[in-house]
Every structure is written in structure tokens, then in C-alpha cells.
């Protein structure tokens, strides 16, 4: 074909020596214009985002941290929070009168009772004077009570992430099938499937969670559904794009062998895209664990509510334990999932 085309096109104008061939300029006025406009827009935006203050305060912090300055605003606030984090809160103490159905003979594991004296100012009704009264309160001490509580919440969080990922995949399978040009039975279905995927992706999971908490009440249901729906949008798009880009050779062979679309998906496409799908799955699962801690803030189950509560009570020791738990969980699951992945491929 090339032999046929070349003489035709070159016949129209006389050949010129290579020294006279037209070369495209590397920099054009158009490029300079675009760069200038871009720079102006960024400058306006930077001013609105207070990037100047950010730079100034970060620089102040850097200067202070190498000892050239007494202290900095950023440094002081951060140090106050960080110093408040340690030591981690491991144990838990509860005043016995506050425990419902307390059974002295059947204490929780590893726990014991302690007597605590507390001095409280009480108004004497006769003298109308404040008097200091020493009272003894019995407390239930659980040495690893808080840690256990956090671990339980973290397990719930991981469960939310797991079910959310599973639901996302189940919703995404039809979305991907109808949303890929080479498999969709009809262009209208293609548009609908792609539209649903985009819509689900566009809905922030926090907003979805707030709406679903109204519908299903507080608890993990809202969390599972919010994350599941949001991620179904991602999976729907990723899966469909990969199906569209899969090598056509095997698909053609199976078409010639009389396979329908579903069989073709099963034997010509999925085997090809499988490694990529597993990678998405791993990424979305990890992301869901992080997101599950956040959507807990609006009451959708998991560790988020505990984190928010402790943060607002300035219980930074507790916050530290929670943050450590989240970090360790993500780290651990990354290892586990990574190993499972190598088995799945």
C-alpha cells in the first residue's frame, strides 16, 4: 500500500532538498500565550487559597526548627497535639455505678476492681459554704480494655470495607458488561451504564453515607452501601475500559467458534484483564478501609465515630491509639492482600 500511496502524494509538488524542508517551530506564540494565561489564573487562585500565608508560616516553622528563631505558630500547635498523643491509651476505667447490670462475681477478662478516692467540692445546704468531701468510688479497671475496644471497632471497619468492595464488584459487573462498546447489546444501554457509573463516581461517599444514615439509621449498613455504591462507579468504569482495550484476536476466534457475548467475556476477555482487575480490587479495598474510618464520622459504623468523639473531647491519648490501629491495619492488610494477589494471578 505504501508503494502505491507515496508516488501519488509526492507527485503533486516538486521535491525539495532536505535543507529546505519545512520544520515546525519548537516554541510558538500560541504556546507562550497559553502559558501566560495559565500563570495568571494560577496566581489568582493561589491568592484565594492563601498559599502566600502557607508559604510564610511553613518557612517560619522551618526557620524555627533549625534554631534560628524562638518558636513558630505551626510548630507550637503541632507540638501541643503530638505531645498529647503519648502515651497511647491502652487501659480503660469505668466507674462501677455507671455500669448496668454489674455482676461482682463475673468480671470481664483481665479486669479487676480498684477503690479510688476523690475529693469533690460540695455545697453544704445549711451553711451555704463549699465543702470538700472525700468520697470513695469503686472503678473497674481493664488493663487492655481500650485497646480491645479499638481492635473490635477496627474489625468492624475492615468488615465494612470488605462487604463494600464485594457489593461494588457485584454492581460493577453488569455496568461493565453493558458499558463496554464491544459487548453492549445496544448503544442506549451503553450510554445508560456509563451514565450510572459516572453518577456513582461523582457522588461523594460522605454525602451518600449521610443520606443512607437517614434511610437505614446509624450503623454499618449505611457505611457498606455508601462505599459500595461509590466504588461500583469506579469499578464500572475501570472494568469497562479494560474490556474495550482487550486484544481482539481471541475475541474474534471465539466469535468464529460461535460463542455468545457472555462466553466471550468469560474465555477471551476476563483471562486477559484479570491481573489488572485484581490490582484494582486491591487498591479499592485498601481505599475502602481508609474511607470506612472517615464515613464513620457521620454515624455509618466503624471506628470513625470513636475517633471524632475522642478528638472533640481532646482525648489525644485515645486518638493516638486509634490512629496507630488504623495505620497497623492498613499495613497488615497490604501484606495479606499482596500475598493473596500473587496467588490469584
Amino acid at each position: 500500500m505504501s508503494e502505491a500511496v507515496t508516488p501519488n502524494s509526492s507527485a503533486e509538488r516538486p521535491r525539495r532538498p532536505p535543507a529546505e524542508w519545512t520544520l515546525h517551530p519548537t516554541i510558538t506564540p500560541w504556546m507562550i500565550g497559553v502559558l501566560l494565561v495559565g500563570a495568571v489564573i494560577m496566581a489568582i487562585s493561589a491568592k484565594r487559597m492563601e498559599l502566600d500565608r502557607m508559604t510564610a508560616e511553613t518557612a517560619e516553622y522551618a526557620v524555627a526548627s533549625v534554631g534560628l528563631k524562638e518558636s513558630s505558630q505551626v510548630g507550637r500547635s503541632t507540638a501541643r497535639f503530638v505531645s498529647g498523643l503519648f502515651p497511647f491509651q491502652i487501659s480503660n476505667e469505668t466507674e462501677v455505678p455507671l455500669i448496668q447490670d454489674f455482676n461482682r462475681d463475673d468480671l470481664p477478662w483481665f479486669s479487676h476492681l480498684e477503690q479510688r478516692e476523690s475529693i469533690q467540692p460540695i455545697l453544704n445546704p445549711e451553711t451555704l459554704q463549699m465543702e470538700k468531701v472525700v468520697s470513695t468510688i469503686e472503678v473497674l479497671v481493664e488493663p487492655i480494655g481500650y485497646l480491645g475496644h479499638v481492635v473490635m471497632l477496627m474489625i468492624i471497619t475492615v468488615e465494612i470495607a470488605f462487604w463494600a468492595t464485594l457489593i461494588a464488584v457485584l454492581i460493577a459487573i453488569p455496568l461493565a458488561f453493558f458499558g463496554s462498546r464491544n459487548l453492549t447489546p445496544h448503544p442506549v444501554l451503553y450510554t445508560i451504564a456509563r451514565g450510572i457509573s459516572s453518577f456513582l463516581r461523582a457522588m461523594p461517599e460522605l454525602v451518600l453515607a449521610m443520606i443512607l444514615v437517614l434511610a437505614y439509621g446509624f450503623g454499618p449498613i449505611a457505611g457498606v452501601l455508601a462505599l459500595g455504591l461509590h466504588c461500583a462507579g469506579f469499578f464500572g468504569k475501570f472494568f469497562a475500559d479494560d474490556i474495550e482495550n482487550a486484544d481482539r484476536g481471541p475475541q474474534e476466534a471465539l466469535t468464529a467458534a460461535g460463542a455468545n457475548r457472555v462466553k466471550m467475556l468469560r474465555y477471551a476477555i476476563i483471562p486477559q484483564v484479570w491481573p489488572q482487575y485484581v490490582a484494582y480490587l486491591q487498591y479499592i479495598f485498601e481505599r475502602n478501609i481508609r474511607s470506612a474510618t472517615v464515613i464513620g464520622l457521620v454515624g455509618a459504623g466503624g471506628i470513625g465515630l470513636e475517633l471524632k468523639g475522642r478528638f472533640e473531647l481532646f482525648n489525644y491519648h485515645h486518638v493516638a491509639t486509634i490512629l496507630l490501629a488504623i495505620f497497623l491495619t492498613v499495613l497488615l492488610l497490604e501484606q495479606v492482600v499482596g500475598r493473596m494477589r500473587s496467588k490469584l494471578l
Binding site: 500500500m1 481471541p250 476466534a253 457472555v262 462466553k263 474465555y267
Partner: protein
Amino acid sequence: MTTLAPADTLFGGLLTARNMPGVINRPHDVMVSFTGVAKRYPDGTQAVRGVDLHVPKGQFCVVLGPSGSGKSTLLRCVVGLTTPCSGEVHVAGRKVERRSFSTIRRQVGMVHQAFNLSPRLDVLTNVLNGSLSQLPTWRALTRFHPLALRRRACDLLAQVGLVEEHLYRRAGELSGGQQQRVGIARACILRPAVLLADEPVASLDPSISRDIMALLREASQRENATVLCSLHQVDLARDFADRIVGINRGAIVFDGPPAALTEPVLERIYARQPAPATATAQT
């Protein structure tokens, strides 16, 4: 025209099938027939121009021609991978059209130039993929292939020279020649009446090409299948074909037995085309 030429006389050079329209009415004689088939691709390439070709049952027919002469397009029309712009294709007396695709694809096995196996699936599954038209969807989805079918796949693999160790290896790990052997086994699993081979050895080196062609010929004889094979290697065509159809720029320029493939004929088949871009990207 009521009297019909026996299959043998179909080899009589250019003056064969084109002069015998009545042959189409006898499906038991002719397995694959093209009548006035033309195909122009959307980019303006005229791949096939008015081809009339009738392949009798049991024949090993090689379509010979340079790259881009329209051989693949012709073969693809048989299973509906390409729809001709005009003309008709019949397989065993049945017209190839959307309605008949499933019936025809069941009767036709296809061997591809680039093997077109699923590289990450094992060899056995790739062979079984040839039977997908017959398999209920639930079986296909769960990979629950009937034992008899799996046994048949093993037999076929042995016949194309593969051994037990290959059974569960990924198809992508095999050499090109081995992959094409799997391709042949896949095409044969449903005992097809027609075997299409689209440049089956174009991606292989010459000695392996010869083995693969021999296997194809052997398989077709064992399954009693009609073969329509496109090739661009003259020596292979000479050695393996019952009948050679020379095609250049989408039109038949020679039709006859291998013995009739003389130098002038070859020049006609491989004649360099002048300016108009008739060559296709389809090979």
C-alpha cells in the same frame, strides 16, 4: 443447467465454477460457495471484487495470493466475521447471514494467523473453547465441560503432537508452532464440516510451517472436513493443496490443480499492482 459437473472437473482452470451456476443447487456437492462476493471496507479499500468460488466437499483448497490480496476477507466472510457488501456465501447450502451465524459457526472451525488463543488460559481450556457454541451458558461460566468433551480435547491434542504435560500449561507459554497446534485442535473439536485456515503458518518459520500444514491436512482427512486455507507461500500451496485458487487484488486470477501452477500463472498472481491502492490491511 441441469447436468452437473463432478467435483473433479472443477479443477479445470478459470472456466470452472463460474460457468456452472447450477452447482449451488446441489449442497451435498459443494460445501462452501461464494457467488459474486465483493467487499469494500469503510476506508475505501476494495478487498474483494466479485468472487465466484465453489469448494466441493472434502477438498483441500488453498487460496494463494500476495499480502493484502483479499484472501483473509474472503475467508472471514464464511463465518460472518466480515459481511460482504454484495454477493452471497453459502456453507453446506445455507446462506451466511445473521440468522444462520450460530448454525454455520457450529459447522465451521477456524485456524487463525496469530493463533488467537487466550494466552493466560491453559491449553485444555483453549481447545475446549472451540466447543463454546454447543456448551450451555451455565457450563461455560462455571467451566463445567462434559468429561467426554475433555477426553476428546485430549485426543485432539495428542493428534497434533502435544503431550500430557502441555495440558495445563498456559497457552501463552508455548512456542508459536505449539500454539498453532492448539489452534488446530480447537478448530477440530466439534468435528467441523469446514476448516478455515487464515494464513495458518504466516507467523511460523519454514520447517514448522510444513509440520503445521501436514497436521492441518491430516486433521481434515481424519474429520472428513473441507478445507479453505489462505497462504502466500507457493511451495506450501503446491505440496498440500488439492486445488489452488490464485487471487490478486481481490479477484480470482487462477483456479486449478497444483500441477497447473506454472511460472506465468505465478506472475499473474503476484503481479505488482499499479497505482490504485487496492491492497488491504487485512491479512
